[in-house]
């Protein structure tokens, strides 16, 4: 019997000797012993996000000359034909719905996996 043959045999036996160990409550026990979730991290993130949004809005407001572009665009929209307004509203609605559905589906599949 050659050396290589014997080594292959030994490696195979070593690999085959590994059997899957059923969980049998092991994971649950580990999770039970985990320290309590660190408090205050989610609220902190929300505060940061909200703060940045408010700050960015304020900067945009001052840079755009007191938000004048908003009233200008509302005036422009008001002068559009009704059919155009309807098309824009429908398009925006469909876009928001599609994005919302996509986000919901991806979140659900993440939770299930």
């Amino acid at each position: 019997m050659d050396e290589q043959h014997q080594e292959d045999w030994l490696d195979r036996q070593l690999r085959e000797a590994v059997s899957y160990i059923d969980d049998e409550g092991f994971t649950a026990q580990v999770l039970k012993r985990l320290p309590a979730r660190r408090p205050g991290r989610r609220p902190l993130r929300a505060v940061i996000l909200l703060g940045v949004t408010v700050l960015a809005s304020a900067i945009a407001y001052f840079i755009s000359g007191g938000g004048r572009f908003v009233s200008l665009n509302i005036e422009r929209l008001a002068m559009l034909p009704v059919l155009w307004l309807f098309a824009i509203a429908l398009g925006s609605g469909l876009l928001v719905t599609t994005l919302g559905l996509f986000a919901a589906i991806s979140k659900t599949s993440d939770l299930q996996s």
């Binding site: 019997m1 043959h5 014997q6 080594e7 045999w9 030994l10 490696d11 036996q13 070593l14 690999r15 085959e16 000797a17 590994v18 059997s19 899957y20 160990i21 059923d22 969980d23 092991f26 994971t27 026990q29 580990v30 999770l31 012993r33 985990l34 320290p35 979730r37 660190r38 991290r41 989610r42 599949s109 993440d110 996996s113």
Partner: protein, 178 residues
């Protein structure tokens, strides 16, 4: 879509998501417990205690996982450290439990006697050789990964694997291929 280990680690880091950590435990519990059972010479209770300690430490130190190695390699390193600390504290390792080994018959292995002799032979190896064999030959780590887990030079891992294999071959001569 199956989340990768890296995705789950990211969730633990960002959201402190314990469900994500639970999934990581579920995925790796078998290999970590298997390694510890063999390091602890089949003292299953001790191995499971050390495995729990391993995962608790992994959770507490998840920020130190930089993703340079596989998550399993990082876990093996923690598991090995837990075992080493325990062995140092106790200064003795528990002997092999023959009844437990015999009851753990694996249908994949043709001869349960061979599995028993293999496990027994492994348990007789000195710890450095046994650990190197378990990591490289049984759990599929490269020599380089094993060196990182054990925090020893690459050359030492190669020597330990070589010596361990030689001893195993000698001890299992009766079972060898024809």
């Amino acid at each position: 879509m199956e989340l990768t280990d890296a995705d789950l680690v990211a969730r633990v880091l960002v959201d402190d998501d314990q469900h994500a950590f639970g999934e990581l435990v579920r995925r790796h519990q078998s290999s970590v417990r298997g390694l510890l059972r063999q390091l602890a010479r089949s003292d299953f209770a001790l191995a499971d205690d050390l495995a729990q300690e391993t995962f608790l430490r992994a959770y507490k130190n998840v920020r130190s996982f930089r993703g340079e190695a596989r998550f399993s390699t990082w876990l093996y390193r923690i598991a090995y450290n837990c075992f080493r600390e325990h062995a140092r504290r106790r200064k003795e390792l528990v002997g092999i439990d023959e009844e437990q080994l015999q009851s753990e018959h694996d249908p994949q292995v043709a001869d349960p006697g061979l599995r028993y002799d293999l496990m027994h032979a492994l348990s007789l190896l000195p710890l450095p050789e046994r650990t190197a064999i378990l990591l490289c030959c049984q759990n599929g780590l490269s020599h380089d990964e094993a060196a990182r887990v054990l925090e020893i030079p690459l050359g030492t891992v190669k020597t330990n694997v070589l010596r361990g294999r030689e001893k195993l071959k000698k001890m299992l001569t009766a079972w060898g291929p024809d």
